[in-house]
Amino acid sequence: MWGTEWPRYEVIKQDTPKSPPQMVGSVHATDPEHALLLARHVFVRRPSAYALFVAPAEAFFHVTQEGLKGPWSEGLEEGPEEAYWVFAKRSHRRSMVYGDLVGRFLAKGPASAIREALLHAQGVAFWAVPERLVVGTEPKEEVIESWFAPAKDKTYRLQSYYGLVTAKEVEDAP
């Protein structure tokens, strides 16, 4: 069906109910459900998570930092109005700056959605994806518990488990 490589899904991870969903990387999978399972193995082995979302990588419209300076949205075709998720890379200050979700916008195309987002949010690069293609874990307590609690309870989750090891004093692990 796909040759020897499965489609790529962008993975969007939300750490806590208050933090923005962030683009963290991608996985190859046969369908969104499979992509979510893989995303949990790859991106949530130890870190906290509240929700995970995936969407086909090819469905993302992207405007780069250089692109934003030019006539990036001219001549792009528009379709029926629908909701888009728009992400922005907000700065260059740290390595760990991903595309953060800046909002959901009703628009006739991804470029229009980004134009709308630019009225509300600053960023050095933007992405937009139709909401109908985004699949995620449900925000129900039992789902969050079953998907993300095991990473928190992992016996060897943190390196601080080993305390400060020196040659003089090897602290036995608790």
Partner: protein
């Protein structure tokens, strides 16, 4: 995926764009997927990131061999978590390389066909349980020195992968150190076992940082473009200065009769590294090269039915959805 043909020195706008690119790096900006970059920057990154990804994958093999033989449930849990992390690191890195236009399929094919290189270190056998501790403390210790540097890399996806990887490698380093220090003050047999592991892994570990700067033709360009922020010899020196005093304090002796502390520079200075061995191992003649590739090939083949089943399942769902 569309192959990009931009960023070549013969392009008319190359000098101007190169200047802007280098100015961005000088300002500390991250270069992101889709941004203009010299073709050589892209090529060097694909080379480094894919080699790094392959190293994580092949790196599961020497340690994975000890999961069933771990001496306690606690050690088994630690090792399982560690090997699982290495698999995850490979995934982060393959993803980072894919953002540069190379496909996963091309990278996996290059590894399985023996064309791709990966770290020299994984072509040595793990003969005793003490090797697992030494790998955690020294091999991962050297890897962290390199990866902490790469976390500052100018390419956004690589630096982000490195930040996540470093957090987990620090855990690997600590568990190895804890294990080695326990054996180093254990029974005579345990002390001998861990000294023997140190003797075998010492030189391959020092080689992991790569050839000396004088023999590393890529380094000046990699530094200029912020792909690397330190040289191979700087990384090796940091490793020595941190680990030698701790090994000595633990009563272990690195197998280098010329190893000495230089009061003037405050550095530990090593004797000649056996580079002939390094080049042999890198070029496929190490003790375990064939074995490692066969193991990867076997894993790929044995997983084939799972991939086929996943695909059949997805096809059926699509067909059902269409009905």
């Amino acid at each position: 995926m569309v192959k990009l043909r931009i960023g070549y020195p013969e392009d008319p706008d190359y000098p101007e764009r190169l200047e802007e690119f280098e100015a961005r790096i000088a300002r500390g900006e991250k270069i992101e997927p889709g941004d203009w970059m010299p073709a050589e920057y892209r090529r060097q990154l694909i080379r480094m990131i894919s080699q790094h990804a392959h190293s994580e994958w092949v790196g599961m093999l020497p340690e994975g061999a000890w999961i069933t033989r771990a001496p306690s449930l606690r050690r088994k849990l630690i090792l399982l978590a560690k090997v699982q992390d290495e698999a995850g690191h490979g995934q982060y890195l393959y993803h980072a390389a894919e953002t540069l236009g190379v496909t996963r399929e091309e990278m996996v094919e290059a590894l399985l066909s023996g064309r791709a290189k990966y770290s020299n270190i994984f072509n040595y056998p793990t003969l005793t349980w003490a090797d697992v501790g030494i790998i955690g403390w020294l091999v991962d210790g050297m890897a962290i020195k390199n990866q902490t540097m790469l976390a500052q890399c100018s390419y956004g996806p690589y630096s982000r992968a490195m930040v996540r990887i470093c957090a987990e490698e620090t855990f690997h380093h600590k568990q190895g150190k804890e294990a080695v220090l326990l054996y180093a003050r254990g029974s005579r047999k345990q002390r001998q076992m861990v000294q023997d592991a140190l003797n075998r892994w010492w030189w391959p570990t020092l080689m992991m940082a790569g050839p000396h700067d004088t023999d590393s033709p890529h380094t000046p360009l990699l530094l200029r473009w912020g792909i690397k922020t330190k040289t191979n010899d700087q990384i090796r020196q940091e490793f020595l200065n941190e680990h030698v005093p701790e090994l000595l304090e633990a009563g272990l002796t690195p197998p280098d009769p010329e190893l000495r502390y230089d009061e003037k520079t405050g550095n530990w200075v090593h004797g000649p590294i056996p580079w002939d061995e390094f080049w042999k191992v890198i070029n496929g003649e190490g003790p375990m090269n064939r074995h490692r590739l066969l193991a990867r090939e076997r894993a790929h083949e044995e997983g084939r039915w799972v991939r086929e089943a996943m695909e059949a399942h997805a096809k059926r769902r699509l067909a059902q959805a269409a009905d």
